[in-house]
Structures are given as C-alpha cells and as structure tokens.
Amino acid sequence: MSFHRSVRGLAAALVVFGLGTGMAGAAEITGAGSTFAYPILAKWADVYKTKTGTALNYQSIGSGGGIKQIKSKTVDFGASDMPLEPKDLEAAGLVQWPTIMGGVVPVVNLSGLQPGELRLDGPTLAAIYLGKISKWNDPVIAKLNPGVKLPGTDIAVVHRSDGSGTTFLFTNYLSQVSPDWKKDVGSSTAVEWPVGLGGKGNEGVANFTGQTDGAIGYVEYAYATQNKLTWIQMANHDGVFVKPNLETFQAAAANADWAHAEDYDLVLTDQPGKNSWPITGATFVLMQKAQDNPERGLETLKFFAWSYANGAKMAEELQYVPIPENVVKMIEATWKRDIKSSDGKPVWTAAR
C-alpha cells in the first residue's frame, strides 16, 4: 500500500515540478503484464495522454508477472492472455474482462512455398508438435496438400521457450483438436514440449523459423506479416480451410458468447463458423474488486472506457479485433457491480 501511495506521490510530484503533461489533474495509471497486449495498450495510452493528460505506465513483463503484481496491488491493473478461472478470481478478490482479441498463426520455412500455399488441419498440426510426423513428405501432410511439392526434409518444430499467452492459445487449440495432445501435453502458458527448438519471444520463434530449413513455428499474426514468414491455411472447426487475417479473426470472435461466460472466462480457439480462424483468443485485464483509492480506480476504468469507445480503429490497424459494443456494455455493467470503494460505493458511475 505504501508503495502504491508513494508511486502516486511521485507522479504528483512530477506533475508539480512540471515534468508531467502540465495539464491540470494530470495523473498516471500503472499496469503490468501481457506482452501480447502491449502494442495496443501503448498505442491507446499515447493518444489518451494527448487527449486527457492522464498517462499510462505499462510494464510488459508477461502475463504471469502481471497476475502477481495485481495480486500484490503494486499496479492499478494487470493484463493476462490466459483468463483466470472464477474460483481463482474469487480467491484473489479480482475482477477480469477482455480488452482485445487476436490470432495466432502457424508459419513454416519451406523453400518454394508461398504464404497460404500449405494447408494443415488441427490433428496434423498436433501430430507434428507431438513428433509423430517428422518429415514434410509424410502421407498425412501430402493428402491435405494435393499438388504441392513437399520436400523429404525433417520438420524442425519451433516453440516458445518462455511462458507466453501465445503458447497458451496454441496449446489450448491443440488440446481441443487432439485427444493425444490433451492427454500427453495439455495447455498452459508453458508446457513440456515433446519435440522441438525453443525460441524466446515471438521474435525468437520468428528467427528460428526463418533461419531453419523445414521449420514450423507459431507467432502472433503481426509478427508473421512483419517478418514476411510463410503462414499457412488451417482447417477450422467446420472443416473449411481459412487464411489468417482480420476477417477470419473477427469471424471467430463473433462467436464468442461473453454473456454466458462466467467472469468472461472464455477462450476463442476452435470456434464454429465457416470463416472462423481456429486459433483466436482474447487478452484480459485484471483489477482489484476493492479499490482502496477509488479516484485512481476510476481513472483506470476511464482509460479502458475511452479505449473501447475510441480505440477500435487503432486496434484494427495493429491487426487486433476490438471487443464488440454489446460486450463493452456488459463489461461496464461488471465494473459497476464488482468494483467498489472501501465504503461499498461503485467506483464506476459514468453511464456512457
């Protein structure tokens, strides 16, 4: 608590001494966690600061770190790519809601293949990551790719070596489409990989995949396009091959039944719909239900309310899928219901 206050004191001091924005009432809100959410949070925060003078200090230390920090109340909010289960939220006195959605894309390094040329389905992808398929010209892969010339090289499986929300979405998807994967490996931000090379961060996976002949890896969509990696088509829940792009992410996101997901505990992998990209997911924000400092809590909620109302276009520019408006209304209702100051009054009062 004293740290909390001293941070605020420091922020106030900076403003007083003219190091802040110089605008009246300028404040700073602090957050920590997900690296997945960092690009869009940074973008929103940048614009938000010029509009309101309130700055966001966000440390992208990873979802695990974000959860730890919000539990110990050293930040105003935490961000995690893996939703916490209702019982964990209850135990820690936290409330969570989704901020943004995005897609994870398998990428390959096979000479002569164009992006989108190779097609895989979930069980095949799982078999590759289980080490059961180890050559590119395996009959199972060949059957999915009639007419594509596949080399007889070894498949170099590349995965994340650090704990990651991207890994959570990827392994969660594999668990849904492959009983073997579910039984032997499971889904988490870090798992015991049966085969493969581990690269640190999306960059690490992108590098290993780009450098190693015959490699297959998985990255957030933006990294695939930025690094000009050869992305592949995936068969979705309906058995239709789809390309990864904003449209197919949105199709998957449209299925999300947030209204019936307790505490928004919802993962969007393997969604039905013929256009749905199968490895889609949301990233979440966590806050303390009991706000010892309601004004600070309100500032934080204002930032997210503003982001939902004004940040959709920025999100799409960065290849994220914004949260639909009806869900935003639900989220604001959740704020009103769950986030209270110490005297029991709801912190969020504004009706948009």
Binding site: G62, I67, D154, G163, E192, G196, G198, Q211
Partner: protein, 326 residues
Amino acid sequence: MFSEDSATMDRPEEVATRIPSGLKLNLPFRWLTAAAAMLVVAALLAMLAILAVDSAPAFRRFGFAFLVTSAWNPVTDTYGALAPVTGTLVTSVIAMLVGTPVAVGVAIFLNEICPHRLRDPLAIAIELLAAVPSIIYGMWGLFVLAPLLGRHVYPALIHWIGPVPVVGALFQGPPFGIGTLTAGLILAIMVIPFIASVARQVLGSVPPMLREAAYGVGATTWEVARHVLIPHARRGLIGGVMLGLGRALGETMAVTFVIGNAHRLSASLLHPGTTISAVLANEFTEASGDLYLSSLVALGLILFAVTFAVLLGARALLARADRRSV
C-alpha cells in the same frame, strides 16, 4: 625542573592538537572499509539465504528426485533439474575442450614466438574478445554461426561420424544448427580471452633460467613448451581453465540464443538442450505458480553451488601455483 617539566608536558599536547585530524578520520575510515567488505559478504549471504528459503518448497516436494529427473512440466507442476544441469555441464565441458588448447596456444605464441612489435596489439585484440557483450555473441551465434554449422558442418559430422558406434551417438539427428554443440562452441570463443590471459601470466612466471637453459641445450620451441613451460605452469593453467569454466557455467544470453531451449535429455550434441541460466532467463518472468517459481530458484541455487565450487577450486590451484613460482 618545573619549567622543563612543563615544557615536556606541553609538547605532547601540541603534537596532540596537530595529529587529531588524522586520528579523527582514521577510525571511521577503518570502519568504513570494514563496512564495505562486510557489505559484500552480507550481500552474498543474503543471496544464499533467499535462494535457500525460496527453493525450499521445491526440494521439500521433490526431494532428491529434483536432481535426477528431467521432467519439466508446468501443466502438471512436476519439475526436475537433470536436463538443465546436464546441459550446463556438457556445454561447459565442450567449451573447455575446444577453448583451452586454443587459449594455451595463443599464450605460448604471444610469449615465445610472436615478434615483439605484434605482441601488444595481438594481446589487446584477444582481450577485447572478453569485452564483447554476451548478447552480441548470442546474436552472432544465431545469425551467423548456427546457419553455417547447420548447413555445412553438421551434415558432414552426421554423415561421417554418425554411423560410428558409441561416438556416433553424439552426432545424430537433423542438422538444425541450433543445439548443445553450437552453444558449447560459442562458449569456447567466449572463454578463450580469460584462459589466455591467465596462461600468459603463469607461462611468463616460469623462471627465465629454466627456459634459457632448455633453449641452451638445443631444445626447439615445441620441446620447451611441451617439456618445460607447460609442466612448470601446469597448476596455474588449470586454475585459468577453472576461471574460464566459471564463466562458461553461468553464461546466459549467448547460450539462450543458440541452444534451442528444450528440456530434454538426448545423447546427441546436435539436439537442442538447455542450461540452468537459459531456463532462468526464459521462464522466470512468466512463471505463475509457486512451485514453478520455487523450482526455478532451486535451479539458481544449484548453479550457485557449482560455480562457487569451481571458483574455489580455481583459487586454490592458482594460489599454490603462485607460491611455487615465487
């Protein structure tokens, strides 16, 4: 008498009034230096204590099995240190096997053979290797060395040595270029300046009389190096190797880039593996779960113990070498 007495009594007082500034500062100064030394020792002990306390849950849960199993599964919360510990030792041994001969060769060349004019520039160039940040080694390893080895060297190793019984098991699998051997080779380059610098010192401390006498009876440079210099400086050389080993054991970034970060034990050096410090660098930030975190701290404690033992050994050997050369 009186006047004399008073005079003799006056003088010490005078002296006393002149000295105090030094006396006054002397005691605090002594305390200050003692405090500085104590601070370092206290920090060391504090680190050890924290490591011991935080790793206790992992050791309590897994016991001795933590050291001898290689499961590393955050999903089921089962952890074992065998894979990273083995990886740490194997990469360091490769680094020593490759780095030591090169470093001793460098030292002998600089001390015995190199023209005087070239000696200093060369020595500085080699010491500059030690100043290259390890992340640069890592990036160079990932972008240059790994693809080079993967495309041109490892396929040949797999083809020629792979089928040989016993030794062949070390060189099997697909040639990705990323793996334990690549990490060991990067480490070898990184430890060369350390070993070479110690080797130059201990070889230089061989009494000139011995060296001159050997040359005098017609020994060649090879014979002098082989039968006089190296045997005489043997202990110091081992100490230098141990210093290099200490560095190799703890190296993090360069290894993380090229080792492949896989928690698996495999006989082949071409397969991806991991080391203790690489695991820590990779997994600490997102380790969610207390047992997970505790297991990581336990790995840190093991690394601490290994490195500490190696450095103690190095110091002991170097100290004895010093005594002998005096």
